[in-house]
C-alpha cells in the first residue's frame, strides 16, 4: 500500500496553487471518506471479535473440561502478543518495500509505525479511494492476530504454554508476515494508474521509455504471489492454508494426546462451541466484506457471499453426516459453517452468490470427509481439525476462486488498472491459466508454512520442549499450567 504525503501538506500545496491561479493536484489529494473509514473501523472490531471470544469459545468448547482455560488463555495471549509485534515490526515487514527481498518480505521503514500518522492514507482497490493508514494497519493487525491462534487447535490439551508463546513469536515473524507481504503487498490502483497515464502522456521515445520504466517499477513493487496474479480476497492462502498446514505439521511433531483413540475425548461444551462458531460467522462479515477496504457494492457482494456460502456449507455437512453417520449433529452444522466461511474467504469479493453457494456445498462435504474418514485412516491427532477445516477448506476456496471469478459463472472477472489509467477495467481471463496461478499460490503457501513451521517446532522443542509432562497432561492444563479451574463446583 502506498502512503500519500500528509493531507495537510497536500491541501496546503493545493491552496498555494489556487492562490497562484492554477488548479493543480487538488483532485489528487486523497481524503478518506467518512463512511469508508467508519465501516473499516467496525470491520476491524468485528475481526477481533472472531478471535476473542469467537475462536476461543469455539475451540474451548471442543476440549475436555480440564483444558478449557488453557485454550482460552492461549488464544487471548496470542492475540495480545501479535498485536504488539504487528505495530512493532509486523506491519512494516508485511506492507512496505523490502528492497532486494521485496518479492518475499517487506522492510523496516514503518517499524514502530514510523510515518503511520493520522494523516497518512492507504490505497484501496478503487482509483481515488483511500482510507486512513492507521485503519488499514489495524484491520490487517486483526488478521495477523487470528491466524496463529487458529494453529493451536491442532496441538491443544498437550502443548506447553511457554513453548507455544515462543513458537508463535517466531512463526508470525518468519511465516505470517512474509506470506502476507507476498500475497497482499502492491502499489495500489492510483500508483499504477498515474504511472500508466504518464506513459500515455509521454511525447517522445525517450520520455516514453522513462515513463514505461517507472510503470514497470510500480508493477514490480509488489509481493511475489501478487505479481503472479493470484487472487486471495480475504486470506484463503495467507490465513487458512497457512494456519492449517502449520497446525497439521504441529500435530505430527508434537504427537497424539495421551490416551488418544482409547479414552473418551468428547467436547466438554458444544454450547460454547456453538456460541463461538456463531460469533465467528458474524465477525467474518468484517473479515470478508471488510477486505474490500471500502463500503461499496463489492463490499455488499462479499457480505452476501459470506452469508450464503456459510449457510450452504452448514447444511451440506449436516446432510452428509446425517447420511453417513445416521444423525444430524449440531457440531456438524457449526463445523460445516466454519468450513464454508474458510472456503468463501478467498472468493468472497470475486464470486457471485450462486457460485458461493456451490463452493459452500462442496466445502461442507469435502471437509467432513477429511475430518472423519481421512483423519481416522491416517490416525494423526489434529485435535480440533485445523487441517481438515482450514487447510482443506482454504485450498478448496483458493482453487474455487480461480473458477468462480469467471463472469460466465456469475463472478466479477479480473481487473486492470493500467489500460485506462484512473479507471478499473475488465482484464482478460483464462480459467485454466488462473487455476494454475491459484495452485501455485497454494503450493508456495503449503511449502513455506509447512517446512518453516516444522523447523520452528523442532527448534522450540529442542530448546524448551513442546509438550507438558504426561502427568500434567493427565491432570489437565488448567491446573497444571495456569493454576486455575474453568468451573468451580
Amino acid at each position: 500500500m502506498t502512503t500519500s504525503k500528509s493531507i495537510q501538506s497536500v491541501l496546503g500545496g493545493a491552496a498555494l496553487a489556487a492562490l497562484a491561479g492554477t488548479v493543480a493536484y487538488a483532485a489528487d489529494a486523497p481524503v478518506p471518506n467518512k463512511g469508508d473509514t467508519a465501516w473499516m473501523l467496525i470491520s476491524t472490531a468485528l475481526v477481533l471479535m472472531m478471535s476473542v471470544p469467537g475462536l476461543a469459545l469455539f475451540y474451548g468448547g471442543l476440549v475436555r473440561t480440564k483444558n478449557m482455560l488453557s485454550v482460552l488463555a492461549q488464544v487471548f495471549a496470542i492475540v495480545s502478543i501479535v498485536a504488539i509485534l504487528w505495530v512493532a515490526y509486523g506491519y512494516s515487514l508485511a506492507f512496505t518495500n523490502g528492497a532486494g527481498l521485496n518479492d518475499f518480505v517487506g522492510g523496516f521503514s514503518k517499524a514502530f509505525l514510523i510515518g503511520v500518522t493520522p494523516d497518512a492514507t492507504a490505497a484501496t482497490f478503487s482509483n481515488g479511494v483511500y482510507i486512513p493508514e492507521l485503519v488499514y494497519m489495524a484491520f490487517q493487525m486483526t488478521f495477523a492476530c487470528i491466524t496463529p491462534a487458529l494453529i493451536i487447535g491442532s496441538i491443544v490439551e498437550r502443548v506447553k504454554f511457554s513453548a507455544l508463546i515462543v513458537f508463535i513469536v517466531l512463526w508470525v515473524t518468519v511465516i505470517y508476515f512474509p506470506i502476507a507481504h507476498m500475497v497482499w503487498y502492491w502499489g495500489g490502483p492510483d500508483a499504477i494508474g498515474n504511472a500508466a497515464a504518464a506513459v500515455a502522456a509521454a511525447t517522445d521515445d525517450a520520455a516514453k521509455a522513462t515513463a514505461q520504466a517507472a510503470l514497470d517499477a510500480v508493477n514490480a513493487d509488489a509481493g511475489l504471489v501478487y505479481k503472479w496474479g493470484a487472487l486471495d480476497f480475504a486470506g484463503g492462502t495467507v490465513v487458512h492454508i497457512n494456519a492449517g498446514i502449520a497446525g497439521m505439521v504441529g500435530a505430527l511433531i508434537i504427537g497424539k494426546r495421551t490416551g488418544y483413540g482409547k479414552e473418551l475425548m468428547a467436547p466438554h461444551s458444544l454450547t460454547m462451541t456453538m456460541i463461538g462458531a456463531s460469533l465467528l460467522w458474524v465477525g467474518w462479515f468484517g473479515f470478508n466484506a471488510g477486505s474490500n477496504l471500502e463500503a461499496n457494492g463489492t463490499t455488499a457482494l462479499a457480505f452476501v457471499n459470506t452469508f450464503v456460502a456459510t449457510a450452504a456449507a452448514a447444511l451440506s455437512w449436516l446432510f452428509v453426516e446425517w447420511l453417513a453417520k445416521g444423525k444430524p449433529s449440531l457440531l456438524g452444522l457449526v463445523s460445516g459453517a466454519v468450513a464454508g466461511l474458510v472456503a468463501i474467504t478467498p472468493a468472497s469479493g470475486y464470486a457471485g452468490p450462486m457460485g458461493s453457494i456451490v463452493l459452500g456445498l462442496l466445502a461442507g462435504g469435502v471437509c467432513f470427509f477429511f475430518c472423519s474418514t481421512v483423519k481416522n485412516a491416517f490416525g494423526y491427532d489434529d485435535s480440533l481439525d485445523v487441517f481438515g477445516v482450514h487447510c482443506v477448506g482454504g485450498i478448496l476456496g483458493a482453487l474455487g476462486t480461480g473458477i468462480l471469478v469467471s463472469k460466465g459463472l456469475g463472478g466479477v472477472g479480473l481487473v486492470d488498472y493500467s489500460v485506462t489509467p484512473g479507471t478499473a477495467v475488465e482484464a482478460p481471463y483464462d480459467m485454466v491459466a488462473q487455476l494454475i496461478i491459484q495452485a501455485k499460490a497454494v503450493g508456495l503457501t503449503l511449502a513455506w508454512s509447512g517446512i518453516g513451521s516444522a523447523i520452528l517446532y523442532k527448534l522450540v522443542d529442542l530448546v524448551i520442549g513442546l509438550r507438558v509432562p504426561v502427568e500434567q497432561e493427565r491432570e489437565g492444563l488448567d491446573i497444571a499450567s495456569h493454576g486455575e479451574r474453568a468451573y468451580n463446583n
Binding site: M265, A266, P267, L331, F368, C371, S372, D385
Partner: protein
C-alpha cells in the same frame, strides 16, 4: 433396620419419592451415579470420531427403614421405578448395625 439402596432411572425419582412418602418414609439420600448393567450404552459421534459411552447416568437412592417396612419399601420402589424396559435398575438391601440422629442423640429405630 435396613438400608434399601436402589439404582433407578433418573426421571423416575419423583415417582419413587411420592411412593415412599405415602408409606411414611420421610428421608431419602440421592446420588447421581454412572454405571452399566444389561442395558447397553450408546454411541456418540463428534466429527466422525465415534465414542462408545457404556456408563449411563443413573440415580442411586438410599433409604434407612425399620426391618418390618422393608418388604413394602421394595414393592413401592419396584412399582414406581418400573418402565418395563431394560435398564430400570436394581434394588439392594443391607443390614444396619446402628443409627444415630445427630441433633438429639436418639438411637436406632427412633433415629430413622
Amino acid at each position: 433396620m435396613k438400608i434399601v439402596m436402589a439404582i433407578i432411572k433418573p426421571f423416575k425419582l419423583e415417582e419413587v419419592r411420592d411412593a415412599l412418602t405415602s408409606l411414611g418414609v420421610h428421608g431419602l439420600t440421592v446420588t447421581e451415579v454412572k454405571g452399566y448393567g444389561r442395558q447397553k450404552g450408546h454411541t456418540e459421534i463428534y466429527r466422525g470420531a465415534e465414542y462408545a459411552v457404556s456408563f449411563l447416568p443413573k440415580l442411586k437412592i438410599e433409604v434407612a427403614v425399620a426391618s418390618d417396612l422393608v418388604g413394602k419399601v421394595i414393592d413401592a420402589i419396584t412399582a414406581a421405578a418400573k418402565t418395563g424396559q431394560i435398564g430400570d435398575g436394581k434394588i439392594f438391601v443391607f443390614p444396619i448395625e446402628q443409627a444415630v440422629r445427630i441433633r438429639t442423640g436418639e438411637r436406632d429405630n427412633d433415629a430413622l
